[in-house]
Subunit: 254 residues, 2 copies
């Protein structure tokens, strides 16, 4: 258990100037604090059971008002990361209480050095859900869905995955499939994970050039869905996820 809070100074102080100049226009102060704290927890800087020393002391240390600190804590509490009780202080909750599928939490988890085991867990989940989604999409898609997928596909071809536009097209393609399942729960889940994993894709991108051309595999998924063949769609999507896992794993090991 850490007693004092080590080196959390300078939340957002690139320059020593005014606060408003530092934080972006859309970014609120408590949001920045929550981000900072959330990353600190997800990165393991604070372990479950650790106590974030007293509210007043902490806010003082961060050089923000208690209100801002309290609102930040409120956010973390809403995501199940911490729990604060009178006298006891604010403690980091055990991992199983964390809301790991929250988009923001996911982002924090991937912001620092992502935990390899957790990434593998996430891909395992993807490997379960995405093929099943493709299976459903093959049955339930309509003409509009197919058109959107087709457009995204050609956009992926035009720009490569090396560009931001290309990656956006990739996201659109997958989102179109999810949307075609007509299942909101599936959509939300996969969208959250997808966003985090796409971050990993950028990560990978930094490491080296594309390992191989992913377009044909995407086309196979599209063809199967267009043909209304659930089994083939699931199989093709399975290949896609496996491929992504391979690439990511090899990129993270270096």
């Amino acid at each position: 258990m850490v007693k004092e809070n080590p080196s959390l100074q300078n939340i957002e102080a690139e320059n020593g100037g005014a606060t408003k100049a530092v934080r972006g226009p859309g970014r609120r102060l408590h949001g920045a604090i929550a981000h900072k704290l959330g990353m600190a927890i997800l990165s393991g800087h604070y372990a479950p059971g650790d106590v974030l020393s007293g509210e007043v002391a902490f806010a003082e240390e961060l050089e923000v008002s208690r209100s801002a600190y309290r609102e930040a804590i409120q956010v973390l509490t809403a995501k199940g990361l911490v729990e604060s009780r009178p006298k006891a202080g604010t403690r980091v909750l055990p991992r199983n209480r964390w809301n790991l599928l929250d988009p923001e939490v996911l982002a924090w988890a991937f912001a620092g050095e992502p935990d390899i085991q957790f990434v593998r867990d996430l891909f395992e989940l993807r490997a379960i859900v995405e093929p099943a989604a493709a299976r459903l999409a093959a049955v339930r898609r309509d003409k509009d869905d197919l058109k959107i997928m087709k457009d995204a596909l050609s956009a992926m071809r035009r720009h490569t995955l090396a560009t931001e536009a290309g990656r956006a097209a990739d996201r659109d393609f997958h989102n179109a499939i999810l949307h075609a399942t007509r299942n909101d729960a599936l959509l939300v889940l996969t969208a959250s994970i997808g966003a985090a994993v796409n971050w990993t894709t950028q990560y990978k991108q930094r490491a080296r050039a594309l390992p191989r051309n992913p377009i044909p595999d995407h086309v196979r998924v599209y063809d199967a869905i267009a043909a209304g063949d659930p089994a083939a769609a699931a199989e093709a999507m399975g290949v896609l996820v496996d491929l992504a896992l391979e690439d990511t794993a090899s990129a993270m090991q270096r």
Copy 2:
């Protein structure tokens, strides 16, 4: 777009007495507000795009301080339900921005009249994930996992599912399976959904007695996992989920 806020008075006023007497000991004020507001949004009382009239006016109407109101809004914002911007007020975000897998959001969704389509979506997701989890568990489980499952099973036999203890044992059984997958992401996801769905189970409970004895089906799952047979485990779990869906659907139709 609603302009004024209809009938949100008396957040927690059963009696006209002191506030502290009404809200439970562990329940904080802003938590109660967030609960109230969250339920109002999830139940469709506020539609996406609706604006919750001015902070001051609203806090006044709820008879709480602005700080409490703000902290409640903070919670909702963290869950992606609303977004507040200066001058524009606090607006309800579109549904696809909602954090539907958040345990609390799920609870709110089920608190009122649960949306049938959403329940179906959730069960579809369960039907995808849980058999896959059973498949993994069949391979990765160790002796301790089996012991916990066995204990939960016998507890389910002792108390029936009609009692709270029996339902707790049911939860334990499923959690043990999830834990045996050694996949935190899977565990968190299914735990969230399971909690909400268990609520539905209580719902069902009210409607009528148990439709049939679920114990043998649970035993089949256990046997397959104990035998280390992935395919059989997945199949048996699929049966379990289908059964639950059937029961819930028929219970909700009345």
